[in-house]
Amino acid sequence: VSVPWWKRRGKLEINLQHKGEGDAVPIASDAAMISRGIADGRLIPVIILDTSARPDIDDMIRAHVHFGPGDATSAWSVPSWNKVVLILTVIHPSRCVVIISFDVVRQASIVDQIVQTQALYIMAGRPGDRLIAKLEEPRICVEIPSAEFRPTWEKLFFNAMVKDFRAHGVPRSEAKDRVRAYIAEWRELTSQRMKSEHDAESDEAPE
């Protein structure tokens, strides 16, 4: 589904500090992690960015470690039917623009998790880095308000999955139903929560 021009929203102006900020930062790897007390104990996606050409992102993450929580704004953009772009503008304690481009078919799961949890962990790394080897490395948790983008994403996700299922030989008559079932199962799996200490206490308490 390409977004028709009459449904497109206004342009977003972003002040870039250098030319490189306007380019999408490659994703080295992705994962998800669950932490008690963060984002209501939900599974939050983690993106390890390949920052070899963007040391300013390394510095921004380092600054967060020293200065504590900061401010950031985010926006979703749909440049084509198979691309979704997340534009993050970190304002404080370090100003930095991070553009992350996702392939709707290949990286649908991570985009869906971001949209559902409205949060994302960002880490700096190099190609080949995996979360398991970088658990002690600094990372920032960014809130990504996605309520406005969700209806668009639902359509994109569904249609991209239908196309993908059909490309893998699923007949047209079955594709939509199977995609609906797949999405429902996926959402159930990723919406698991880790109970907080308070929840655990209230579960144990006698009635």
């Binding site: 250098h18 040391p55 380092r62 600054a63 020293h66 304690p93 100003r95």
Partner: protein, 182 residues
């Protein structure tokens, strides 16, 4: 062509007079409107939310684990309306090497740092702080940057951002920062 007699001339003269009076009235009205517009723009200029910042002194104290920047500043409110200073931030732009894109860090003013600087004489600015219309306030703004953040980096520029209650920033580039012992 017959010459017009007096009786025929009267309505013509009266009409011409009416036209002349109307023209004068129109001109007068437009003048009054222009004056009103001028007064209105003056009034709007007076209410424009505009702060400006002036640097009196800038100092850097290098500690083992951090750098503390101390700036004595004065902030003027050029508006007739009151305003308030919400935050003061120091924006430090730096590079790891000449070819890499610039990084930056923007620590906020922390008045409690004054206790760590014996040499600082001025009173730190407590924020948020109200500034009445056409008034000026002054004081010391202090920023701490952990040494780790600027390690192996060369500082390119410093900029002070005074953020008001309307989230607008009055900025100033700082050219000279003199290093002082604690």
């Amino acid at each position: 062509v017959e010459a017009l007699n007096f009786a025929q001339l009267v309505p013509v003269v009266v009409s011409l007079l009416a036209v002349a009076i109307s023209l004068i009235a129109i001109r007068r009205t437009s003048e009054v409107q222009r004056q009103q517009l001028r007064l209105q723009s003056l009034q709007e200029a007076g209410l424009r939310r505009e702060l400006s910042v002036r640097l009196v002194q800038s100092e850097l104290y290098r500690l083992e684990t951090a750098r503390i920047y101390a700036f004595r500043i004065s902030i003027a409110n050029h508006s007739d309306a009151g305003n308030s200073v919400r935050d003061v931030r120091l924006r430090i732009a730096y590079r790891r090497d000449a070819s890499s894109p610039p990084s930056n860090v923007t620590p906020s003013h922390r008045p409690e740092l004054a206790q760590r600087i014996v040499a600082a004489q001025a009173k730190p600015l407590e924020l948020p702080r109200f500034i009445a219309g056409r008034d000026t306030i002054g004081g010391l703004v202090l920023f701490e940057v952990p040494a780790e953040v600027l390690r192996d980096a060369s500082v390119e520029s410093y900029r002070l951002d005074v953020i008001d209650t309307y989230d607008e920033a009055a900025s100033m580039d700082i050219i000279v920062v003199s290093e002082r012992p604690l």
